[in-house]
Amino acid sequence: MLLIHCPYCGEDRPELEFRHAGEAHVVRPDPISEISDEEFEAYFFIRDNPKGLTYERWRHMHGCARFFNAVRDTVSDKFVTTYKAGNPKVEIERGEDGIARVKGDGQ
């Protein structure tokens, strides 16, 4: 079971309290009614499925109920960071030790 840091509660809480909510930073086109079929396909159906770092959304369902973003390594299941919904996409870099960190955080 994962331990997940809720950026709103400021707490590490067990996975049982959370619900996964799909890929993060998928922007709903505006105005959505104007987009082409291809744009709709890209927005609604096409998802990354990386081996490695993935940006995803979680919801602290049985806590504060807020949606937030997370960066997780799908190989190790390790969370690099979590941050509030609406915040810009966090940039990640891998150090020489192979460990992924938020860019600028250093070691």
């Binding site: 079971m1 331990l3 009614s33 709709f40 609604f44 959304r57 190989v75 609406g86």
Partner: protein, 998 residues
């Protein structure tokens, strides 16, 4: 007497504490602390089972959890039993009944052994090749018969009578393994004040010290030291010592699952004591000290009862005081087997020969053997064995061939070296690396907050191991935040035991040039020959070899066999072992009972049961309940002697003639509040909400972004900034989730707040011509005349004095009200309304009648008449989709080419030619019943009922271009007939819709 092979003065058990048990009906005596295996060997019994495929007689191989052969069915009473218990792990208790498995009619005479004669057809891949044709025969003949013949014990048929417990704990340092390394690490970590958990699978701590009596620590026998340090640890407030506890899974973020066998060893466990306890441990740091497992030698006929691991023989002697035979030969490629031979010899057991496959053997060992009068044959191999149900002799040859000699022996103990136990390490997702120098896989770089120490880390020298363990303990505590220096100093220790030497794969004399039956995987009956065959047949990946041969796929997961299998495959492929690679270590490390995993989550605790506040009144009224999600809902209310059909007909009639009461409390309810509430609903629903006046209601449908119907319900506007939203019963949580998602992440600027109120309101639907008359005396503060509260209105006031939201709405097509009162008042209000309704000749009705009545009116149920691929237009609900709104969820998806193309399945009504015939829901519809099979299916029935009010059956269906087929005849082919139906609109009753305004 506790067995003829019990040696006076040997072992650590107290001989006077005897226990009585049976094995295959034979009454035997063991000693408290015995495993079933040690007790059987003490009684001269090695034969414990028949092998999986060939039904070959098999004996006890090991003295630990790696046991592949001795799987036994255990019971303590007649009404329950546990199959596939490892005799080497299960402790005996007074009154235990043990039964061998996989044999018929008896262990010593087994009909299935005929398989052994036909063994050529059971070679690797035989399942795939032999039994695949004809296809149906697999299911009906081969598969059941193979299972019957090759079963692994019989599952109990009764529900599990035992209790299981579950605990979540957090600690600073978890130490897995209570051998020397684990104990020292735990002690060093504990000294700093860090919270420490140390677990070990055996009843006592000590690990290899169980058999290594030559290892002395701080001047005393290692095992004694281990017990002392164990009680020292147990006495510390910050330490928890768990014995009989197996760490079976290493999960993400340092969560390790342990299973503790709490009462499996008691004769009469207290009913309040769980059988097993699942510990889910979240540790800041994990120290893996899981030791190593000895490998067997792979040679011809290496599976006769009496042939076992050398360390196991040593454990039986030194811990249990049991000799594994009276004349014990040794076959080894490793130094440690010599110690076993010496211990046996010194205990007075004859050791006719040590056969060592190596030519270069430590001179000290040879000298010691000579001093003890044991013959050693280096550069020799055991090439064959004899003996039916027990080993009788072994045949020995010089490596490379030559004259052979036969040596009598009733036991052969063997060692091909030690495999580091990397299962947990590997489960933590770290990679193993091949160590060329010691020719074995060792831990690489940890990927979680963990470290491996001791034998599993390849640390062989005792001095190095002591230092490594003490440092690991202190370092783990420091990394967990305990900076205080540990005052602990590793003890002084010395040992004669060496584990030098290794042989992987087939022993000399069982190589590719031979056709001998040399077992690699005992439990799955895989021989060296099978693995070579797999490679020859093109399996070049070790994962393929594993699946083709089933090597390592039995319940022991190849603890003794994987490395041998890999080495044989590598040899055939002419590749170095690391290039062939190791198969993945999967959890669990050892088999875990379903009971421990399911734990409390069974029976009534499997899933929550939700009951409405009015539930007890329904029970008093004799309601039959149906499960709707987690809810218990009244299905129908039969009168004495009434069938379901009769009850539903009566309820349907009564509602339309008089009135009925229905508990609608399970409907999802969401309070949508805020200055932008109407704007928000405009985005969530397809229709518009800005113009809805307070006090009025509207039916709304919501789509997913892909344009399909997601949910529907009636929404009432309570005030400018306040809406009372209802959802389907099953849809409540996901609709709130969906709304929250859009509110929080797509439209965060809207000032709107969402609150689930499903459980806060009791909802009583009062439907039918007398609905107004029923509620009238109870309503205060609301004018309930038709003019004052027209259809689709909502008012606030009181009902029976309770604050209420009174909806004028209908899911039956009749004059109707839905009385919403706070749930605490629900039952009282229901009872009051029912008393009056009853006097007026009304009824209570359940979900079945509700379904029929709504179908008579053509009202859809999302999830029944829709299935996630139905658009608003498909369901005939285009009128509920606003044309002029710039945006709502699904506005673009619903215009996708496939969703607007012709030929889509549209909701229509169906009337059977025979009005008495009720269609089956889900039945397929065709245009031409005479077309050849497979027919073209153009739709299916979604709802179908007998309608008492229409005096005939009615149905709804989705049919391709159905609305263009009005009046046409279609067909529903069923197994025994083809049913003729006419396509109609979906309103079957009161087509004008006047009754609703009554």
């Amino acid at each position: 007497m506790s067995g003829t092979n019990r040696i006076a003065g040997k072992g650590r058990l107290v001989p006077a504490r005897t226990v009585s048990f049976t094995f295959d009906g034979r009454r035997l005596t063991g000693v408290e602390g015995d495993t079933l295996a040690s007790a059987l060997i003490a009684n001269g019994i090695h034969l414990t089972g028949r092998s999986f495929k060939y039904h070959r007689p098999r004996g006890i191989l090991s003295a630990g959890p790696e046991e592949p052969n001795a799987l036994i069915d255990i019971s303590r009473s007649s009404n329950t039993h546990t199959p596939n218990v490892r005799a080497t792990v299960q402790e005996v208790f007074e009154g235990m009944t043990a039964q061998s498995q996989n044999r018929w009619p008896s262990l010593s005479f087994d009909v299935g052994a005929v398989n052994n004669l036909f063994s050529p057809i059971f070679a690797a891949g035989f399942y795939y090749k032999t039994f695949m044709w004809p296809k149906a025969a697999w299911k009906h003949f081969y598969e059941p018969n193979i299972r019957a013949a090759a079963g692994l014990g019989v599952s109990p048929k009764e529900p599990d009578p035992d209790r299981y417990a579950n605990r979540f704990i957090h600690c600073d340092v978890l130490v897995v393994g209570g051998g020397i390394a684990g104990l020292i690490a735990a002690r060093a970590a504990a000294e700093t004040g860090a919270s420490v958990v140390v677990c070990d699978e055996q009843p006592e701590l000590g690990g290899a010290l169980h058999h290594e009596i030559d290892t002395r620590i701080d001047g005393q026998e290692g095992f004694v030291w281990a017990q002392e340090i164990g009680s020292e640890l147990a006495g510390m407030d910050n330490v928890r010592v768990l014995t009989r506890t197996t760490a079976f899974a290493y999960q993400a973020q340092n969560m390790v699952d342990l299973v503790e066998r709490v009462s499996e060893h008691f004769a009469n466990p207290d009913k309040l004591v769980p059988r097993e306890r699942l510990w889910q441990v979240r540790a800041r740091r994990v120290i893996v000290a899981t030791g190593a497992i000895e490998r067997h030698m792979v040679f011809a006929q290496n599976d006769r009862p009496g042939i076992m691991l050398a360390s196991a023989a040593r454990t039986y002697l030194n811990h249990y005081g049991v000799a594994v035979g009276s004349n014990v030969a040794v076959y080894t490629a490793n130094d440690s087997a010599y110690r076993a031979a010496f211990d046996l010899k010194q205990a007075g057991i004859a050791v006719p020969v040590i056969v060592d496959a190596r030519s270069d053997v430590d001179a000290g060992l040879l000298a010691e053997a000579e001093a003890l009068g044991i013959q050693v044959l280096t550069d020799h191999a055991v090439v064959d064995t004899k003996g039916g149900l027990r080993l009788k002799s072994v045949r020995i040859e010089r490596v490379g061939g030559g004259k052979s000699r036969t040596v009598e022996a009733d036991a052969l103990i063997m060692s091909a070296g030690w495999t580091p136990t990397l299962h947990l390490y590997s489960q933590s997702r770290a990679k193993v690396v091949w160590d060329e120098e010691s020719a074995r896989f060792l831990p690489g770089k940890a990927v979680q907050e963990m470290v491996t120490i001791g034998a599993c880390n390849g640390t062989d020298a005792l001095d190095a191991l002591l230092e490594e363990a003490a440092n690991a303990g202190m370092e783990a505590a420091r990394l967990a935040g305990f900076a205080g220096a540990s005052g602990y100093r590793a003890p002084d220790a010395e040992s004669l035991t060496s584990r030098r030497g290794a042989l992987m794969g087939a022993a000399p004399g069982a190589g590719p040039e031979t056709t001998v039956k040399a077992f690699v995987d005992y439990q799955n009956d895989v021989t060296a020959k099978d693995i070579r065959l797999a490679v020859r047949e093109g399996m070049h990946s070790i994962e393929h070899v594993k699946r083709f041969t089933t090597n390592g796929m039995a319940t022991d997961q190849g603890k003794t066999s994987n490395i041998h299998g890999l080495a044989i495959a590598a040899d055939m492929l002419d590749k170095p072992i690391p290039q062939v690679g190791l198969t993945t270590f999967r959890l669990p490390y050892t088999p875990v009972t379903f009971g421990a995993i399911v734990n409390h989550g069974r029976d009534r605790l499997f899933d929550p049961t939700r009951k409405t506040a009015i539930h007890k009144s329904h029970e008093a009224l004799g309601a039959v309940f149906e499960d709707v999600g987690q809810w218990k809902r009244p299905w129908y209310y039969p009168k004495a002697g009434e069938t379901m059909h009769a009850a539903v007909d009566r309820e349907c009639r009564t509602v339309r003639e008089t009135a009925g009461l229905f508990d609608a409390s399970t409907l999802g309810k969401i309070e949508v509040v805020g200055p932008d509430a109407a704007k928000f609903l405009d985005l969530i629903y397809t229709n518009g909400w800005q113009k809805l006046a307070p006090g009025r209601c509207k039916y709304g449908i919501m789509l997913r972004e892909d344009g399909f119907i997601y949910d529907d319900g009636v929404v009432g506007r309570i005030a400018e900034d306040r809406f009372h939203v209802t959802t389907t019963t099953g849809g409540a949580p996901r609709v709130l989730h969906h709304m929250e998602d859009y509110l929080q992440t797509e439209f965060p600027d809207l000032r709107v707040w969402l609150t689930s109120t499903t459980d806060q309101w009791s909802v009583i639907a009062v439907q039918g011509p007398k609905a107004r008359e029923i509620i009238a005396p109870f309503v205060e503060g609301i004018d309930i005349s038709n003019e004052a509260i027209p259809h689709m209105s909502v008012r606030e006031g009181t009902v029976c004095g309770a604050p209420a939201r009174l909806f004028r709405m209908s899911f039956t097509g009749e004059l109707g009200f839905e009385v919403n009162v706070p749930a605490d008042y629900g039952r009282a209000v229901w009872d009051a309304l029912w008393a009056r309704a009853q006097d007026l000749g009304a009824c209570t009705y359940g979900t079945e009648t509700m379904h029929v009545l709504r179908a008579e009116k053509g009202y859809i149920i999302v999830g029944q008449d829709t299935d996630g691929t139905v658009t608003a237009d498909d369901a005939g609900l285009s009128w509920a989709v606003a044309k002029s709104k710039p945006d709502f969820v699904g506005i673009r998806g619903m215009k996708r080419p496939d969703l607007v193309a012709s030929g889509r399945k549209q909701l229509v009504g169906l009337l059977t030619a025979d009005p008495k015939q009720v269609l089956e829901e889900g039945a397929q519809i065709v245009a031409d019943p005479n077309q050849p099979v497979p027919m073209k299916m153009i739709g299916h029935v979604t709802s179908s009922y007998w309608s008492e009010n229409c005096g005939r059956s009615i149905a709804m269906a989705v049919v391709a271009d159905g609305r263009a087929l009005m009046g046409k005849t279609l067909y529903v082919p069923m197994p025994h007939e083809v049913i003729k139906v006419e396509v109609t609109d979906t309103v079957f009753f009161d087509k004008e819709g006047d009754r609703i305004n009554g």
